[in-house]
């Protein structure tokens, strides 16, 4: 935090320049860690995919895009965590806002949403380039929408007889009337509606917490369960009403809406803009400072004349709105609202990203940049794993996220307890822990061994298990009894 530091540098004396302090910050460490993971994964990977330009760029693109989606919710989660709360409802909020957005699209533009085929608008140039131009008046054609390009070109290449083509086009034209793209204003309303739903849910959290007096954990746990179910009900109702029968998914075929994420820069830009906004909010606004004060010491904050209930409202609203923005982007990314499975468990990814990025669950500590970098670090690790373990890499995700979170949070405490030369594996609990850590290592060894040899390798697993066990036992017996002072 660069605030207030202009002068203190003088007081700290030599060796504490501004750059040194930036380098020692948690954010700089995360950047270094991200680069390190990238290099290590590239080196371990037998094919060294990271070191080839095309797959390097592809991986960077993938990581950045995934980070953008996770980063947005991580920003929201970070604000709540810094304010001393927790928002468990993020994943359901994403699904709910995606469903709200899709429902509004369906409601306001039912015909455009019903298309089972994609429609393509020919440009005047294309019409002239093809044989069509001779048979049809280009001005007449250019105003209409056609079935997707591939089908249409196929028809042309097969050189349909003129009258057959004509009748084919005529049916297409009659359908095309109904399959215009979704008007921009409808998209705008749907997106705003989704974000508004986030604001409403965040406000509901604030009410449950500040007025009813529920602990944040309970308040957001109830919406975690409730919102997803509400989204499913909404999906059923709206599809029975507009599509003739209940469906569990609302599909979106509209290219205009899908541009939101097909253009990779859009989610990235959204994430960057939100990062800048949240940074400005936390570091340079009074309300933002009050978020830190609230999280640091709620009673003192109130007694300093801070309207703590308003700050909580703000924090929970920001978190839920960030989740609803991600919901809209995800809806566009996967082209369908699927409330049953969408973003399940995403709240934990968001909280993990914030915590890896330096937020303390006790509140009062954390930064916006840290939260986004925390998300990026997690995706870098996940992507690295998928490079090293080729098959079913996604099954390792939870495992990896768990390990990363434990290591990141334990890092500081470990340094502390190491300096006190306390034993890591005391007593019976130590032996049990060594057993389970060795088993985990063994399983990991099997998986890695398989990616090198192409078949399940029990030997590699046993080797990893044994080595880990011996190593940890050695650690226990050597470090167990700290050398006592005389």
């Amino acid at each position: 935090m660069p605030a207030l530091d202009n002068h203190s540098a003088d007081h700290h004396g030599a060796g504490e320049s501004r750059w040194m302090r930036i380098l020692r910050s948690g954010e700089a460490k995360l950047v270094i860690a991200i680069i390190a993971v990238f290099l290590i994964a590239g080196a371990i990977d037998p094919a060294h995919n990271y070191f080839h330009q095309s797959s390097f760029l592809g991986s960077v693109d993938l990581i950045v895009r995934q980070t953008a989606l996770l980063g947005i919710v991580a920003l929201g989660a970070a604000v709540v965590i810094i304010a001393g709360g927790i928002d468990l409802s993020i994943g359901s909020m994403i699904a709910f806002s995606a469903t709200v957005c899709a429902s509004l699209l369906l409601l306001l533009a039912p015909e455009e949403m019903s298309g089972a085929v994609k429609w393509y608008r020919l440009t005047g140039e294309e019409i002239n380039r093809t044989a069509l131009g001779e048979k049809w008046n280009s001005a007449e054609l250019a105003d209409h929408w056609f079935a997707d390009q591939a089908t249409f070109k196929l028809a042309l290449e097969k050189s349909m007889p003129a009258d057959e083509l004509k009748s084919h086009l005529a049916t297409l034209l009659s359908q095309a009337e109904k399959n215009k793209p979704i008007p921009v204003w409808v998209i705008a309303v749907a997106v705003s509606g989704a974000i508004l739903s986030g604001f409403l849910v965040g406000s509901l959290h604030a009410w449950l917490i500040t007025v009813v007096g529920l602990p944040p954990f309970i308040a957001t746990l109830s919406t975690l369960v409730g919102l997803r179910s509400m989204a499913r009900v909404l999906c059923f109702q709206i599809t029975s009403y507009k599509q003739g029968g209940p469906k569990t998914i609302i599909n979106i075929f509209d290219d205009g809406f899908r541009t939101l994420t097909n253009q990779h820069w859009i989610p990235i830009a959204v994430c960057l803009v939100l990062l800048a906004a949240v940074w400005l909010f936390l570091q340079r606004t009074i309300a933002g400072r009050h978020v830190y004060a609230l999280g640091g010491n709620e009673q003192a904050a109130r007694l300093s004349g801070i309207r703590t209930e308003n700050i909580k409202w703000l924090a929970y609203a920001i978190s839920a709105m960030a989740a609803s923005i991600t919901g809209v982007l995800q809806l566009s990314y996967v082209s369908s609202a699927d409330p049953q499975t969408q973003a399940v468990g995403y709240e934990l990814n968001a909280i993990a990203a914030a915590v890896v990025g330096g937020c303390s669950l006790q509140g009062g500590v954390g930064t916006a940049l840290g939260a986004v970098l925390g998300g990026m670090f997690m995706w870098t690790v996940l992507n690295g794993i998928s490079m090293v373990i080729k098959e079913n890499a996604d099954t390792y995700q939870g495992w990896v996220v768990g390990v990363v979170v434990v290591l990141a949070v334990a890092f500081n405490q470990m340094r502390q307890s190491l300096s006190q030369s306390r034993s890591f594996f005391p007593g019976v609990l130590g032996y049990v822990t060594i057993t389970s850590l060795s088993l985990i290592a063994g399983l990991m060894g099997m998986a890695i061994g398989k990616s090198f040899r192409g078949e399940p390798v029990g030997l590699a697993g046993l080797l990893a298990l044994g080595t880990t066990a011996v190593f940890l036992l050695a650690l226990k017996w050597m470090g167990g009894r700290p050398a006592k002072n005389q």
Binding site: H12, R284, I286, S304
Partner: protein, 510 residues
């Protein structure tokens, strides 16, 4: 006869403890004889608490050695210390409020029945015996959270007796007690000594130490100053050893010129539903003028904190009666309104109610006045730093800079930073709730002089304190509260510890 001399029960030999950036103890050595009451004195930050944590096994890593009955100790934790016969009663009591008195006494060494289940009846009987020894009327099955602080402390003492502690460490045991509770504690201490218990007694309070102690050890800045027999020293000498300088008798308040009334309180009442007393505050009437310091004296529970919180709009329940600030009737329901109207409250419990421990000194100071540093709603770090530096300079806060962590400051400097926080809001009325609690002697005097200066600049100040000499030093007038009512008012000339104490202990409603 050297042969007849017993080896010391406890011998502290060249103990040094370093924390990152600080040497909390350096080469401290002294002996404690069996059966004596050994007082450890020193200003805050002198290293008393660190030493006690080492003796009681809370801190396990240090340089030097501690010999117990001539044997080196190597406590791996408080359990080891307790097993060796050393128990500690912390200033902040270590009790589980949701459990009964008996369960707390036997916490961690619960009695069991033949079937391995917990033996509640056995524990309650044993607890009753122990509590009887301490002449207190607590029922063993009572939940600790329902007890008064003084009674809670007795439970800790009962626990220590049940552990058959040979050495009992008491860390500022009277800081939260009423006069009667203090008297009872003294009797308990006498009984413990009759049982042969050696007591290490940490205190700020000269009266107590001179009443109780056989020997006094004075620490300063983590170093041993001197270990002396109580009989051979005077209070003045001890004060001198503690601060390392002669304290000039603070004489403040002469020639203050109070002007117009800034705060008027009429028939202020604060209900207490469900309590036998019915009122937290009843019929409070007073006025405060600019340039005046008004003190509120009273025992624990007399309503001092409640009164200040009511004036500041920090209480949840509604009050009745009238509060007139600068000619305007006010009824604050949130501290924000009070702050905007020009009332400031420096809270009682600095750590719990005042400090943002994860923030820097500068941010702690500016938190209430950020709008001054945020032209157009965006905080300008250089204006903010300027504001903070100004405060630091004006109040003489000793810190390495605005970016330093607030927790790196001593208690007195933390308190000055918090006063600075409120002065930045440009208050008309400054309320201070026990502002020198847990602050060392030197810093106290500085705070008194600061209050005097602010008062002379035209601020109306209300201060409460649990220490009467403090109120006598700084106040122009002292109002005494007793069980929520006004039981006396004394002008500067007529107030003495004697008549204030009489008013505070006697429910005289006039």
């Amino acid at each position: 006869m050297p042969l007849a001399q017993l080896p010391p029960l406890l011998s502290i030999q060249q103990v040094t403890k370093r924390f990152p950036g600080v040497v909390a103890l350096e080469d401290v050595w002294f002996n404690v004889q069996r059966g004596e009451l050994h007082a450890i004195m020193g200003e805050n930050g002198a290293g008393k608490s660190t030493l006690m944590k080492i003796l009681s096994g809370v801190i396990t890593e240090y340089e030097g050695a501690v010999l117990l009955r001539g044997q080196p100790t190597a406590f791996g934790g408080t359990r080891d210390a307790e097993a060796a016969g050393v128990s500690i009663i912390h200033q902040e009591l270590n009790l589980v409020e949701q459990l009964s008195a008996a369960a707390n006494i036997f916490l961690g060494r619960e009695k069991r029945t033949r079937f391995g289940l917990i033996d509640n009846r056995g524990m309650q009987q044993a607890a009753a015996t122990l509590l009887g020894l301490l002449e207190c009327s607590i029922r063993p099955e009572q939940l600790v959270g329902e007890l008064r602080v003084g009674d809670q402390q007795l439970i800790e003492i009962a626990k220590a007796i049940s552990l058959e502690a040979e050495i009992l460490i008491m860390d500022e045991p009277t800081s939260a007690l009423t006069e009667t509770e203090v008297a009872r504690l003294y009797r308990v201490i006498d009984r413990l000594r009759a049982r042969g218990v050696t007591i290490l007694y940490i205190s700020h309070k000269m009266d107590e130490v001179f009443r109780l102690a056989d020997r006094i050890t004075v620490l300063r800045d983590g170093k041993l100053v001197k270990s002396v027999d109580r009989a051979g020293v005077s209070r003045r000498e001890i004060t001198h050893l503690m601060v390392g300088r002669e304290l000039e008798q603070t004489r403040l308040g002469d020639g203050r010129m109070p002007t117009e009334t800034v705060l008027q309180v009429q028939n202020l009442c604060l209900a207490w539903p469900g309590h036998a007393r019915q009122w937290r505050l009843k019929d409070i009437n007073f006025s405060l003028r600019r340039g005046e310091i008004l003190g509120f004296a009273g025992l624990m529970g007399a309503g001092r904190t409640e009164l200040l919180e009511t004036l500041f709009g920090a209480r949840m329940e509604k009050h009745s009666g009238q509060i007139v600030l600068d000619g305007q009737p006010v009824a604050f329901s949130h501290p924000q309104q009070a702050r905007r109207a020009g009332v400031a409250l420096v809270t009682e419990d600095r750590k719990r109610l005042g400090l943002f421990s994860q923030m820097s000194v500068g941010k702690n100071i500016t938190v209430c006045a950020l709008s001054d540093a945020a032209p157009g709603g965006v905080i300008n770090p250089s204006i903010e730093a300027q504001l903070a530096r100004q405060s630091i300079q004006e109040l003489g806060v000793k810190t390495s800079g605005v970016e330093a962590s607030i927790t790196s400051l001593s208690g007195g400097n933390q308190q000055k930073a918090i006063i600075g926080r409120w002065l930045l809001t440009k208050p008309k009325v400054l309320l201070l709730d026990d502002p020198t609690r847990g602050i060392d002697v030197g810093a106290k005097a500085e705070i008194y002089r600061l209050l005097d200066r602010l008062c002379r600049q035209g601020l109306g100040i209300i201060v409460t304190s649990s220490e009467l000499p403090e109120l006598l030093t700084v106040c122009d007038r002292i109002i005494v509260l007793c069980e929520g009512r006004q039981s006396g008012e004394f002008a500067r000339g007529e107030a003495t510890e004697q008549n204030i104490m009489e008013a505070a202990t006697n429910v005289a409603v006039g």
